[in-house]
């Protein structure tokens, strides 16, 4: 059995009457990249804040490195790195100074910090920007700097809340590459995201959260295998004919989901299904065949889409 860095049992967070996190259990093991996938408001950030000790738990049990956050939060924070959802860099300081301050917060010596800054700037691909003001950086660079800052104390556990939200596709790929490298170096990562591609790319294991509860837990591949047939045929119809066509498709595939703008047919054999659609006299304007993703798993489990 692998060592658990984070253990939650019956973990609950309430804000007055509102239950943000509802009685959840999970274990995060050393060396894995663990994901919390779910739409906005699912309770992911609240869970992260309890793990990082900045939000007191309402009920249940939580330990990080075997330490109870209500007893010694500081001891936990010494050993973690936190990448918040919104960048909170000091815009008036330089790139290196932002790292320096956090090094001091972690009680590191000046010499130690200087050495670490050189390494981290290289890791974040910001080596030539050390003396630049943060204000002048692009969104992707700021994000990489925030990650570098979280790594200043060489943390055993790195917690990333929506690491690529708001970034353009290219910047996201650069970031994923960095996080992948981090994982290869043996870091334990906790990632929250509402992007299923991000979860698939980065996470060894994940839980799907919805309305404060965990609705599924496994590796991305297993989740897809368990909850969605292999392939998806997406059909779009001419305007006005959507509803009429939907009626004709009843039972044509193993399972189907009717969305406002298209129909998803889940099947193990897309060719078969396409032929079956045709035989019913349905002629969609557009047909797309793709593999099932975590998005489909989420749709299956909750009846809703991840991003509205």
């Amino acid at each position: 059995m692998t060592e658990s860095l984070v253990e939650a049992r019956g973990l609950t967070k309430k804000f007055d009457e509102f239950v943000a996190v509802d009685n959840i259990d999970f274990d995060i093991h050393k060396g894995e990249a663990f994901g919390f996938l779910g739409p906005n408001g699912a309770g992911k950030t609240s869970t992260m804040k309890m793990i990082t000790t900045v939000s007191p738990i309402t009920e249940g049990k939580l330990t990080v490195f075997g330490i109870d956050p209500t007893v010694n939060g500081r001891a936990i924070r010494q050993r973690i790195g936190v990448v918040p959802q919104e960048d909170n860099l000091d815009l008036e300081l330089t790139v290196a100074e932002n790292l320096y301050i956090y090094g001091r917060y972690h009680d590191m010596s000046r010499a130690e910090i200087r050495e670490r800054i050189t390494e981290l700037l290289e890791f974040a691909q910001l080596s030539d920007r050390g003396k630049a003001k943060v204000e002048a950086l692009s969104g992707g660079m700021k994000r990489r700097l925030t990650i570098a800052r979280a790594l200043i104390n060489d943390p055993e556990l790195v917690i990333l809340d929506e690491p690529t939200t708001g970034l353009d596709p290219q910047a996201r790929h650069v970031l994923w590459d960095r996080l992948y490298r981090l994982k290869q170096q043996g870091a334990t990562l906790i990632i929250t995201t509402h992007y299923m591609d991000e979860a698939e790319q980065l996470c060894d294991r994940l839980v799907v959260m919805d309305k404060g509860k965990i609705v599924a837990e496994d590796s991305p591949r297993k989740l897809i295998e368990t909850h969605a047939p292999r392939e998806v045929v997406e059909l779009r119809f001419e305007e006005g004919s959507h509803d009429a066509n939907v009626l004709k498709l009843d039972g044509v595939a193993q399972r189907s989901e009717v969305l406002a703008d298209r129909v998803l047919l889940y099947t193990d054999d897309a060719d078969d299904t396409q032929r079956a659609v045709e035989s019913r006299g349905v002629h969609p304007e557009q047909v797309l065949v793709r593999r099932s993703t975590l998005e489909d798993v989420f749709l299956r489990l909750t009846g809703r889409r991840l991003i509205d």
Partner: protein, 262 residues
Amino acid sequence: MTVLNGPIRVVESELLGYRRTWRGTAISSFVNPLLYLTAMGLGLGSLVDSGSGDLAIPYLTFIATGMMAASAMQNGAADGAFPVMAGIKWRKSFEGAISTPISPADIVVGRFLWSIVRLTFVLVVFGAIATILGAMEFVQAMKAVPPGVLTGLAFTAATTAFTVTREDDTSLSTLFRFGIIPLFLFSGTFFPISQLPDFLQPIAYVTPLFHGVELVRKFALPGLDETVITSVPTWIHITYLVAMTAIGLVLASRWLDRRLRK
């Protein structure tokens, strides 16, 4: 880790930020006393001194001592207001800091320590300018610094406690408009509170700046008579300001914790 380790780290980060912005605040530290002391002290003072006033000291001296306490209040209150709101809401730097070993109380205490440094600087400069303009002897001006710093710190602590409970900066502007400015005008800075209408005098006695102004004058210019100061004993001024500082710090730490660690 000792208790002061965290706060000192916070001071370091304030210092680093200050290195980028010191020019503006340093210049106003020089310009403000110069403007007030020439306009009010020398200009208005020539009228006061030649009029029917019965102050035992030149008006310039009166104003200089009062203004040292008042500008400590303004600087102290400003330190506890907008930068704190920025840390909580605008820049969210506090949120970042508390994800490291730093705690909300470290932030409050660290910023408070930093205020001591800033206030001392502001008041030493003020005292030096007052000396140059002939308001006081240099030694007298320097004796005014510690009670001035205490006055400023009481306001830093109290304003911080207020700010951490506020949602936006309109309430901070309100604090200055309806709190700080009236205190500035009616706490004995520009005229002895014995000149206030009888029904207002008791109010002046319970306001914090009154105690700061009195304490500065009693420290800098011992042996003044009742034309300048009141008969309230010095220990009451000190107790008042120390209590305000202590209560402010405790509440600020507690309320910032509640605000940040939801």
